[in-house]
Amino acid sequence: MYISHSSLSLLPSAPAIQIRFILIQNRAGKTRLAKWYMQFDDDEKQKLIEEVHAVVTVRDAKHTNFVEVRQKDLLDAMSFRNFKIIYRRYAGLYFCICVDVTDNNLAYLEGIHNFVEVLNEYFHNVCELDLVFNFYKVYTVVDEMFLAGEIRETSQTKVLKQLLMLQSLE
């Protein structure tokens, strides 16, 4: 990413853990959640969404859950190429997290699963439609668990308790 201030702290020397974005897409490529932690303009976002869909949907169970994005594959604007996409498929939905190439793959892979389990509990057997009709609540769940591109809270009990409390508020 070329100009955002935040990229200044993403120099290779700094072991800054940072999520660039979280995407939930269905198999047809419809976005069910896009949460951006770096500044992209609208065209860049659209391009990223399309390219993530293209690289992720062609992979099967024999593939890893990681896609290291090589130069020119994705946006030129992100040509420093120090990022990767960690994804997991749940039925027809792909949950994708874009992180630094040095970040811990398995920690984020389980971070996705932890998030999905919270959604599942919160929406009582979550399905794609829940995410569509309650999109504004999904953002709240994300903010409880991930903030500023970092993992904020990992305890499902704590997150659900907080969500339940918020749910009871008018």
Binding site: L8, D41, E110, E121, L147, T154
Partner: protein, 962 residues
């Protein structure tokens, strides 16, 4: 158990979403959306005050429409109103809208910040969190200015709720990343570090991200975190799987926190305090031990969480690189994973082992896995896993296993994915060169490479084999014999013809004694390939032929015959024709002595860093190349001769060192390009005989950057602006941010903001290579008149830019009076010894100092009439060069800086705008009218202002935008 029903709370929203989902076509969807937008607009504009619920519902609908990908240009005010509601659900929607659709409208920012301020001081933890999340999501500089002082206080205050602390820590992290200058930790440092001791694991989880970021920037100030992190880690690692309750994930205690702790420790060297270090080593051993224990669950979540910690621990062990015992244990553990049934684990083990291979303690241990890795290269289904296997083979290669590894990589190449072939070729070439004990093996390997993957053999690779053959006389005879044999194949790759032509031209005499490879046989063999080759290769072959005339006088008649044939001497390609003419002439008029001097054997090449290695580094990016080609001994061996690589080109007599024969032949006047272009990027163009324009550009293109740099690359004076700099300038007339310039080495991004007659521009210089730029220097100058029109100030940047790093430069601009030219930005630096010198125009244009002016139709027409003198008007009629989409046009006109006036022009197709240009000397009012003609795909643009130069300039600038 919490569960929510579909769209609960807002029925209207759920109905709307259902409607959209039921739309059969895109058109239907747009129609439904437009209807809804009209409805919402009328509600917002209506006389009846909306209650909080309705406002929330409509704002939420707008948000949904925006997320579907449609533009939203109203509703911001209503969203801001929601922020001051005292109902959570209304506030939440307000904040969400603001976070997703950040608007830099300064008036709104003030209101938003006000609302945030109120919520932060509300002592209501729910509201505080909402406000903090909004700051963390937006992270703008204005917010940093407003809240960077307040948030640390909230973070460390004794009475702050845990959840608020979590949000405050990460909010602060975001502000620090965005505006490090505004976040001053000073007095808070020690209290922030002590959050590592907090009872609430969630607070530690959040705070540690902040601490890690701050530590990596100021390691000394935060070094007390090391012992705290170690004891925290130790408590987690030694706890039973159920101790941590809420934070136990599939029987693994606090996996994410453990990873974060281990990562924080990677900001520091091993602890000096013996007790701390002992405790840490114990932790790492425990983690390694646990990997051997039987799993507590069969679920993949369990093993993933456990292994996440294990891999992070191994990263720390590798980072320390000081505990041989741990390194070897790590290596053995990874060795087990190499055969694991989980693809993820095999992939990660290969990746992690790659770094272990470069440690002296574990290199040997890594090597024991060679068979498994080779097997992975052959059998893995996922190309990225095979890629990692190839990386690891490359990293574990040394003299003892080079032949095996190179052979395996060569055989893999035959079936390798196209996407990784070029990289594989580079790796094989590097290993073959680096570990060659006998150079006949090296020559065989490279020729094999060309045979197997000729298309992927870049010029660097075949240049390099020629360099080495020329520099080592013990391999020349073998090379000649081998290429001669390789050329016998009925179909051989063009790169083989190039190498063959070059080597036989130089050393064909070494095999000429054998009647099976007599001079004439050699010539006929080469010439049989001639007609199938591209122009540059033919040019090379012609040079080989003239060399033959010198080596083997008996071939002279045959070769002269060939040169004299119409297909050569009248070739439509000017380079081939010129060579044929000149070589023919040279061979007929020069005496044997002159001929022998001109066509003398090439002198040894000066040894430089292998260009192949440089290329691989470029492909793989920073840090990816672990094997360095810096073996001094080998360099000595290779470096057979003096530093006189540049003076022996045969035909391309260098213009700077004129030789009598060159003058004689009139070469200098006919081939001015030869030899005059510095060939910093490629190794051979300067010495190589194919020095015509085609060859020069071929050599240079490979390094890309030279082709975009002006021919004065080697000069210390600022280069003239790039030819495309006007075009680059035009790109920024209607926008303030983006990439200004990019080549293979450097990317320059721009962010700028303007207020009144002042501007501030942030330039971001990104080093795209893995090699540092030295003597990096940038200057901004105002040529000629501009000096008195603009006041531009800037600070110098650091002279070193590390590979992969980005440096920032701030430029302050004051507009004194209106102006036309743009300031020049000159960037100079050395990359691998070669001076780079680039000049660009800074996108500072007069329209940046526009203040939008809203006015009613009557006012507009009155002023329009007032500006009726002919010189006050500038007009252009021009063809549309882009689509004539309304929204795009509007965005551009707004980007210009003027106010777009609705309902002014009687023709709704037209656009009128008004603005005032603010300069120190005066204000210049400007009116604009743009009349599109969709049928003719034309525009008429009219500008009127109180100053003729301004009208003209704005008109010129804007006419380039549509």
């Amino acid at each position: 158990m919490p569960a929510v029903s579909k769209g609960d709370g807002m029925r209207g929203l759920a109905v709307f979403i259902s409607d959209i989902r039921n739309c059969k076509s895109k058109e239907a969807e747009i129609k439904r959306i437009n209807k809804e937008l009209a409805n919402i607009r009328s509600k917002f504009k209506g006389d009846k005050a909306l209650d909080g619920y309705s406002k929330k519902k409509y704002v939420c609908k707008l948000l949904f429409i925006f997320l579907l990908g449609h533009d939203i240009d109203f509703g911001h005010m209503e969203a801001v109103n929601l922020l001051s509601s005292n109902k959570y659900t209304e506030k939440q929607i307000g904040y969400l809208f603001i976070s997703v659709l950040v608007n830099s409208n300064s008036e709104l920012i003030r209101l938003i910040n006000n609302a945030i301020k109120n919520d932060l001081s509300s002592r209501n933890p729910t509201f505080m969190c909402l406000a903090l999340h909004c700051i963390a999501n937006v992270g703008s500089r204005e917010m940093a200015e407003a809240f960077a002082g307040e948030i640390p206080r909230i973070l460390v205050a004794g009475d702050t709720m845990d959840s608020v602390k979590q949000s405050a820590a990460l909010c602060l992290l975001r502000l620090y990343k965005a505006s490090p200058d505004l976040v001053l930790m000073g007095e808070w440092t020690s209290r922030v570090v002590h959050l590592l001791n907090d009872q609430h694991m969630g607070v530690v989880t959040a705070a540690i991200s902040l601490i890690t970021c701050l530590s990596s920037k100021n390691p000394d100030e935060f070094k007390t975190c090391v012992s705290l992190a170690v004891s925290r880690l130790s408590r987690i690692v030694s706890s039973a799987s159920t101790d941590l309750q809420d934070y136990t994930y599939y029987f693994v205690p606090a996996p994410w926190l453990s990873c974060k702790l281990l990562r924080l420790l990677q900001c520091y060297p091993p602890p000096e305090d013996g007790a701390v270090k002992g405790r840490l080593v114990e932790c790492l051993e425990t983690i390694l031990n646990k990997a051997q224990e039987p799993p507590k669950s069969k679920k993949v979540q369990h093993s993933n969480a456990k292994n996440a910690i294990l891999f992070e621990a191994i990263s720390l062990i590798i980072h320390y690189d000081s505990e041989p015992n741990l390194l070897v244990r790590a290596c053995n553990q990874l060795g087990q994973f190499l055969q694991h049934r989980e693809t993820n684990l095999r992939y990660l083990a290969l990746e992690s082992m790659c770094t272990l291979a470069s440690s002296e303690f574990s290199h040997e241990a890594v090597k024991t896995h060679i068979e498994t890795v080779i097997n992975a290269l052959k059998t893995e289904r996922d190309v990225s896993v095979r890629q990692r296997a190839a990386d690891l083979l490359y990293a574990m290669c040394d003299r003892s296993n080079a032949k095996q590894i190179v052979a395996e990589m060569l055989s893999y190449l035959e079936t390798a994915d196209y996407s990784i072939r070029e990289e594989m070729v580079l790796k094989v070439a590097i290993l073959a060169e680096k570990y060659a004990v006998d150079y006949s093996w090296y020559v065989d390997t490279i020729l094999n490479l060309i045979r197997i993957a000729g298309d992927y053999v870049s010029e660097e690779v075949w240049y390099r084999v020629i360099q080495i053959v020329i520099n080592r006389d013990d391999v020349q005879g073998y090379a000649a014999k081998t290429v001669f044999e390789a050329l016998q194949a009925p179909a051989c790759h063009e790169n083989m013809v190039k190498v063959g032509g070059y080597i036989l031209g130089e050393f064909g005499n070494l095999i000429a004694g054998d009647p099976r490879s007599s001079p004439l046989v050699q010539f006929n063999l080469l010439h049989s390939k001639f007609h199938l080759c591209s122009v540059p290769t033919r040019a090379l072959l012609l040079s080989a032929y003239i060399k033959f005339i010198n080596l083997f006088p008996e071939t002279k008649a045959t070769i002269q015959e060939v040169l004299r044939s119409d297909s050569q001497i009248r070739n439509s390609d000017v380079e081939l024709q010129q060579r044929a003419v000149e070589y023919l002439k040279l061979s007929s008029i020069a005496s044997t002595d002159v001929l022998a001097t001109v066509l003398e054997e090439m002198p040894p090449f000066p040894e430089r860093e292998s260009s192949i290695l440089a290329k691989l580094k470029k492909k793989k990016g920073p840090g990816a190349v672990t094997v360095e080609l810096e073996d001094g001994k080998e360099r000595g061996e290779l470096n057979g001769g003096g530093d006189r690589g540049g003076d022996a080109a045969i035909a391309a007599s260098n213009a700077s060192t004129p030789s009598p024969s060159a003058d004689l032949l009139g070469l200098r006047s006919t081939a001015p390009v030869s030899g005059t272009t510095p060939s910093a990027g490629s190794l051979l163009v300067d010495v190589f005989s194919e020095a015509g324009p085609s060859a020069t550009s071929a050599g240079v293109n490979d390094d890309g950057f030279l082709s975009s740099a002006p021919p004065t690359v080697a000069s210390e004076d600022p280069a003239p602006p790039l030819p495309e700099s006007d075009e680059l300038l035009n790109k920024f007339v209607c926008k303030n941010n983006g990439v200004l310039f990019e080549n293979q080495l450097l990317q320059i991004g721009i962010k700028s903001e303007y207020r009144q007659n002042l501007g501030r521009m942030y330039l971001f210089y990104g080093n795209k290579t893995s090699v540092q730029f030295v003597s990096f220097n940038t200057t901004v100058s105002c040529p000629g008149e501009l000096q008195s029109q603009l006041n531009v100030q800037t600070k110098t940047v650091e002279p070193l830019v590390e590979g992969g790093a980005q440096v920032q430069q701030v430029i302050n601009i004051e507009c004194l009076t209106d102006f036309i030219d743009a300031p020049l930005l000159n960037i100079k630096f050395r990359y691998g010894g070669a001076l780079q010198n680039i000049s660009l125009k800074l996108p500072v244009t007069i329209n940046k100092f526009f203040q939008p002016t809203e006015m009613a139709a009557a006012d507009f027409f009155q002023r329009w009439k007032q500006l009726s003198q002919p010189q006050q008007e500038a007009q252009k009629i021009f063809k549309a060069s882009h689509g004539m989409d309304t929204e795009v046009l509007k965005a551009k006109l707004l980007g210009l800086g003027t106010a777009l006036l609705e309902n002014v022009d009687p023709n709704p197709e037209n656009y009128v705008c008004a603005g005032v240009i603010q300069t120190k000397a005066q204000q210049v009012g400007c009116l604009l009218r743009l009349e599109p003609n969709a049928q003719a795909q034309m525009y008429r643009l009219t500008l009127r202002s109180s100053k003729d130069t301004v009208s003209q300039r704005v008109c010129d600038l804007l006419a380039e935008q549509f």
